[in-house]
Symmetry: C2
Subunit: 268 residues, 2 copies
């Protein structure tokens, strides 16, 4: 048993969808969330820079006496998690492994699509993980850089979203995928639009949900579960304006965020 908090990292606010799933499946756990809002998005940055920013974030979370880190950000999971595991003495769990596992469990024709940021897709991390689990798989990865700003604009069910999704997903349709990994925290908001493009014929995999499940299993295996069954509390930290995070984050979590603190992340 271990009542220290779980650390949840994201490049910004999107990781709250992962936090929400963790809270649902592990209601007794305390959580420390850090969103690197001053340097979001990670998806277009070089591997070197993502590693630097992620390491600073890990150092901050570790200063909060956490017992495990959940990496909600797909780009950081894809580009920097393995490096971090070599350097930091703490269990780190990312979204790629659980998301890949679910895609493999779901597909019937072994044809899987993965969508994400440029960084996530170009790294090939999802593709490699899936292939390791299902060597016969055909995997098509597509970077969809417009999806995040469309969601942030609140346009996820608009005609702009639909036409954009049609463009990005055309190749996946032509390959007749039957399982699609939503490899970026923002993408589940586009679920309705994406289903419309695929005429509901493709199973959408949400790594946020899968990662929360995997976190529970890992805590159990490492004997790190909290002895509380509910009443876990969450503390929020960001690197830019706390008020903006509070406002938008409250909408995502569907409850008010009482307090958000600003961290000077660059000097860690």
């Amino acid at each position: 048993m271990n009542n220290r908090p779980i650390g949840v990292f994201d490049s910004g606010i999107g990781g709250l969808t992962v936090l929400k799933e963790v809270v649902e499946q592990l209601p007794g756990e305390d959580i420390v969330y850090f969103g690197d809002t001053a340097r979001i998005p990670y998806g277009t940055r070089s591997k070197e820079t993502v590693i630097k920013y992620f390491f600073q974030s890990v150092r901050f979370l570790m200063s909060k006496n956490i017992k495990l880190i959940v990496v909600a950000c797909n780009t950081a999971s894809a580009l920097a998690m393995e490096e971090a595991q070599k350097v930091f003495d703490i269990p780190i769990i990312g979204v790629i492994e659980p998301g890949s596992k679910a895609a493999v469990a779901t597909t019937k024709n072994s044809t899987i699509g993965v969508i994400g940021t440029e960084g996530t897709i170009n790294s090939g991390t999802y593709q490699r993980k899936i292939r390791r689990m299902l060597p016969s798989a055909e995997i098509i990865g597509i970077a969809c850089p417009l999806f995040v700003p469309i969601v942030e604009e609140g346009w996820e069910n608009s005609d702009v979203a639909y036409i954009t999704a049609q463009k990005y997903l055309l190749e996946l349709k032509e390959h007749n995928i039957d399982s699609l990994v939503l490899g970026c925290t923002h993408y589940p908001a586009l679920r309705y639009t994406i289903n419309k493009v695929f005429e509901n014929k493709v199973t959408l995999v949400n790594p946020a949900y899968e990662t929360a499940k995997a976190t529970k299993i890992m805590l159990k295996e490492l004997n790190l579960l909290s002895d509380k069954l509910d009443g876990g509390k969450a503390d929020f930290f960001v690197s830019d304006d706390p008020e903006k995070f509070k406002r938008i984050g409250g909408n995502i979590l569907r409850k008010e965020i009482a307090s958000v603190q600003k961290v000077n992340i660059e000097n860690l």
Copy 2:
């Protein structure tokens, strides 16, 4: 006469459009360009963070013995330039003043639109400058957060661009503006699409062009012009991957960029 270089700052690569105009109008001047590619975009960040990042960038440029700074980034011009002018002992020229002047010179019905990032529009800086020059003006500012990623995707003449522009610009059309400031370095790439929405009835103001003109005038007034009439050289610095900047930047400038150096901007 003064043969020290001009510093050009941008949050990323878009400022090369300003550099291009400066080179055209001042071919004898040497230039040091810095693009803060590790922390782009500035347009969604808080004023406090934009000021911090801009000040670090100014410190870097000043270490290169420059004689004047041109702020190509509209967001930094809107949120941080006045603060910087109080702190740093160097002439600083931004895009807002020249862009506003051109809009006022252009309008016939005193109804002016301004489009830009959230930061630029919400700051009200363009609106205040224009009103000071033309107190009777009706000014409508609209933030267009999807325009930058659309241009970066190379989709500036696509149906996605057109439908998005129709949504953003509707209110400006209803107000019957006759002059529109393209208040973000990326937006001139959308010129064709924007003209289509307005059926060519609105004059588009490009602050990049106006700023280069204003720079020439300022250098003359301060007696800081180079004594060379051409053959000026440009040095490029960025805070993230130099190779990506070289590739995309070469396309913008339509000539090869020989060398780009990476700067560790966070510690300045």
